[in-house]
Subunit: 423 residues, 4 copies
């Protein structure tokens, strides 16, 4: 079963990369972005480094220099190629990376197939981590290639456009009474996976609060813009105000104005901004300013998680398997929170910090999450580029407050209206 | 009484500036630092802008351009002179600023003296805010001139050296059982002052924890350095590791190595590092790395505040009135937490974020705190440069994680040892 | 004849690009470098813009956006894609560029074949300029891909290594009496091509001087380094001293030290530095410092050109047709100046400025040379990557004083020893 | 006589600094600018280092650290304080620098008075160099404080305004036949001073040329601006075009537009731009673009010097002794070249390079000029801030092509009209 899961995860990466030419796969359009072929190689390096190196009988690296080229940030593994220079490495090419992947796959399948049960049980968590690691890079691969293609005046599309779902429906509020609640992943003992940063499960005190039942739409964002949203300092965090002025932000990241009409670059081409779709590719600063303008605020991550656990699932989430490659409109309300998982990662008002009692793993794997716990904000939910199986209520995504190239959006929150809390 | 308090606060600023020449008062040694004469003028501008402008009968600005020159960051008040250029403004000179201050003082005293009780009651909070604002700048004035003088090869001192207090004593741990606690300033109704960011008082759930009863010392820091503290990536947050390598940090900010001996620049001159004194002028990154090395962590701001309220005062705090201008050693333990208020601002592990239910004031005054709530960490306590009356358990100071020129130090924290919690 | 010349020049570009993968052709390793496929497209754009657009019967651009993407710096032609971003354009890919080239070739051959003699005579100079423009980019393509490959830890080679020619031989000096001499290309009337910056031919007064009969070698450069050449400020221009310290230059650009041995990255792989070969990939600053160290100076461009006209050709020059892709050793002297054309472009002490009476052409073509006449130094001769037919005595190449990625070297000059001048 | 000359030069520095407060004297408004008190100290350091240190009987530095603080760029003298940080050194203050100056003066006068004739003869050239060095800094002191005061919204003036001379008169052209001419200072043997960069006198071949008989005026510059001068790329050097767009240059450096009217910051306050005055504070790039627009060119330095030697003096030059602190209008033509010495330094088209046969002096003094011979353009003449006795036909001033804070202007040149050359 681990072998079929392995095959499935690995194949999905190649499926996502398939529409991209060798040249597409080579480009690094800014330091935050990695080339497609680097993603494809790095996730293989992960298995080679953290599984094969320690458990293969006669281990030898596929290629000595790959050790150095495809390390992302693991200091404990040794020196690594400078991140902003990933795009200057033309070789190994896209085809060579395919050979590297095939080699790792053969050896991984051999290894897994040949392990006794005891060793397999010990090794399975690392292999499982490798699956989730690869899924993160599947999402990043799509976010990154979106940026690469966005800079091209030829306006290439990654995939054809799908129906985007019609009306966003009316925004309603759902109220929660809070109190002493439990936050964090239930347990690793139940066999479900989580990252170390979702642990330990712990208690938090929440005041009564309420959440909007869907994401903010482009139409609502246009109203914010029309009301001087990007020109009124009183709405902005100081860092945000500085940033939007230095970098001349006047609209979401991928919006382009042509003859007075706003268009949006997407993975399915460049289209007029649809007012019913969720606004996306906004920074935390913009999300926070919008909330101020609306007289509301962003949810904390604890509020979000608490509510997400209380809600029934509302139909299939708009994740990568839907192949929309873009947020869909919220549609008619079913009574539950809409768009919770999928569509856009939702900015929270919580800084990305360790949970009480957090301990990171030993060794290089311990660098996975903990060391990034400064100067970042938590996002919750998932997005249209998230692989299915990679979204859950306790998942903590994080980006710096100024990041705009990830597929981000926002859901409004507010303190509860006194005496109205239904739960 | 408001008039005598006014006179006292204002006079203290001039007393602090008195040892500084016109040239000293002109220099801005980096963008974070402001010239002494700018501080002296800006705090006067605050009273002119937020009190006199609205309440003086025939108000006219002392000098039109001062409105522009001495605004710090209030967007609502209009455009302002670029912060990094404060040091290129030679005029008004130090003496002219004195004349400006005297003028504002006369007018403020006239105004306060002439108000009826009703108006006074309404205006008093803003004037009180002006006092605390000026006290913040008194502290900054000292931190800033310390940086200015540190760059001078002549090694000038601001003041003569005082006795620094002997031994740091043994570090002991104090345990707290936590639970549902209240955090934040009690109330504005009791007549005591607080900033808006200390409100509202609210509940938080704390797990059992313990705190070191004194600050980390230079001697302990030297052991961290000797153990490769600045060269071991596994101890550092990722941003911190990048920063120490980019800027070649190998010791606290004001430390200088000469022929193998560490010296420290202080406001009282350059002296060999005293192992009994608290380590100071460290960034949050360094504090966090030290805590990792020690197998401990930093306290959250809620843990710190909760403990600070439970403790009895331990003799006079080492604030600016002690005229040590530098942290003092912890001395023998009295059983309470030592060095809580004074000596060094203590880094916490808490990001600077709004308390649940936080609302900032209307108008320009509302820019005082809220808009800085991103990318900063909270510090608690006070330091040797803090004016007396400006330290309290609920006070939230904040700086970016990389800031080193403020007078910062650290106190270790840890989860409680099971079954040992006394409270 | 113009058609066969056209075919020959165009084919040579494709021949040079043939060993490079689509990924290789995509990378821009620094702002000065352009991707191979960009070079291939840009030289086609030149013919499309400056020939086809004005003379083709029913002209339409091959692709609208190419107009924008493949303009290098012609302001008069309209806006252009930012130079440092050439490497983020994955599409058109290498194959698409091939289709673009084939289309332009067909149309150019049709156009040339269909012109009457009068029109052809009028158009021929622009087409001829297109040939020389493409040859310049052939040379740049090689210099650029050398840089791209140099950053790859896999150390890929562009081509196999050839014999590099043995001994450099003894350095001898040749003396010239100077006086009132003529400099600049003879005339465009004689049918030979030159760029506008080689005109007009004009008089200059030269004092008696002498030139080294070969280039400075790696062995001589190692002696300079061993004598503290990179650590002695008195040898350096002020800008050069600042630059080598900011960027930590301690050897020529492509040199790498491994366990105390110097290696050199070349287009044929990474090899130990051969002391008999000319030193190459040095900046003007380094060339000037070396000359100071040697008690000599660099030649002026007029001295170089005057001498180059007096000398007999000394066997076949080491240009691109030799397929060495690297400078060769000087070999035994034949009595003439060795290595004049080919091997390395030679830095002169002359700033790149207009000749007296210089007039640039009208229109966009006028931007070809004149606007670059500031902050650059002249180089003369040619190099191992220069296409044959692209080197001549009056040719003025130019780069900023700090440029190191071009294939540059140096020849020493000196004032004549009194009474010894043979001419 | 050397003692009275010494006293005179030194007193003039103090006279120029007298109107400036201690705060004025402390500010460094950009890296190119030095604080007034730094200039005052550095010129004293020059005498201390290059005269007293080697010739005073029991030499000891006035203050050890001054050796380090007041070295400008002499690598051979040892390490020095970083140039961009000159403005963070509040101490020594302006008064302390006065004490330093007085001490050096006493010791210099003692030394000069006590030398025997032989030693004096040997030492005199270095002392003389010290005078001219101090005069250069007198000019820089004024250019620098102009920049400092320009950033102050209070618009302080250095001195009161004088009459600026009325009409610029008609621009006429004077023609020169050129040929084999001699350039450079006549000789050091005749007892007149020159810098090493003015030597050796040597021959150059000049083609017939002509020069405008006065500087370009503000009125003419306004016509250039009105004709799109700053928006037409075809007029600009490539580096210039990049620079004006990056830094948004749309007018000369100190021009400010207020409600559609152009004002100019000067040392005598801010005044409406006077169309009769010479345009000033323009970069080489702007001068070159103006000349292109006018269908003319800039003179070479040889053309300028040759003409300057042929011309009779045209009344008193507008140098610093005139106390205008600003260029004056050209006034009615006397037939000679107007405004040759004084008013504005005139950009030439010549790069700053060594004359044929140039040799710099031994030791630290050798760093005076030669090492700056890259990436700079030559200016000739003098300006309204140049001390009298510091302007001569062979004087070579130099600045980078983008420099705008020096007092620069331009005079047009052209090739001679055939058959009209009078000489």
């Amino acid at each position: 079963m681990l072998t079929s899961r392995y095959a499935e995860v690995r194949a999905y990466t190649e499926q996502l990369a398939a529409p991209l030419s060798p040249e597409d796969q080579t480009v690094q359009s800014m330091p935050d972005v990695s080339p497609t072929k680097w993603h494809r190689a790095h996730v293989s390096w992960f298995f080679e480094t953290f599984v094969l190196a320690d458990h293969e009988a006669r281990f030898a690296p596929f290629q000595d220099q790959y050790w150095f080229l495809f390390n992302s940030y693991y200091e404990a593994v040794g020196p690594r190629y400078a991140r902003p220079l990933r795009g200057v490495i033309s070789r190994p090419g896209a085809h060579d990376v395919g050979r590297y992947r095939a080699n790792i796959d053969d050896r991984m399948q051999d290894l897994i197939g040949g392990l006794d049960d005891g060793t397999l049980t010990k090794l399975a968590p690392t292999i499982e981590l490798g699956f989730h690691h690869e899924q993160q890079h599947q999402e990043l691969l799509l976010m990154d290639i979106k940026h690469v293609l966005s800079l091209n005046p030829l306006e290439p599309a990654y995939a054809p456009r799908r129906d985007s779902g019609g009306s966003a429906g009316v925004l309603a509020w759902k109220e929660y009474e809070g109190g002493l609640v439990e936050i964090g992943h239930e347990s690793m003992a139940d066999g479900t996976f989580c990252f170390d940063n979702e642990l330990p499960r712990h208690q938090q005190w929440l005041q009564p609060y309420r959440l909007a039942d869907r994401l903010v739409t482009n139409g609502e964002w246009l109203a914010f813009m029309a009301d001087g949203g990007y020109r009124r300092p009183e709405l902005w965090l100081s860092d945000g105000w500085a940033r939007i002025n230095e970098e001349h932000w006047r609209a979401p990241f991928y919006w382009i104005e042509r003859d007075g009409v706003w268009f949006e670059h997407t993975l399915t081409g460049t289209w007029p901004v649809d007012p019913e779709l969720p606004v996306c590719h906004i920074s935390h600063y913009e999300a926070d300013a919008y909330a101020s303008w609306a007289g509301k605020r962003l949810p904390t991550e604890a509020e979000w998680e608490h509510a997400a656990r209380l809600e029934e699932s509302d139909g299939p989430a708009n994740l990568a398997d839907q192949q929309t490659w873009h947020p869909r409109s919220a549609g008619v309300s079913s009574g539950a929170l809409r768009q919770l998982f999928g569509d856009c990662w939702e900015w929270t008002s919580s800084a990305y910090l360790p949970y009480p009692g957090f301990r990171h793993a030993d060794g290089a794997i311990g660098e996975y999450n903990g060391k990034f716990m400064s100067n970042q904000m938590v996002l919750r939910g998932g997005c249209a580029l998230t692989p299915p199986g990679h979204a859950r209520a306790s998942y903590r995504n994080f980006f710096p407050a100024g990041a705009r190239w990830p597929l981000t959006g926002l859901r409004l929150a507010d303190d509860a209206v006194t005496g109205r809390g239904p739960r």
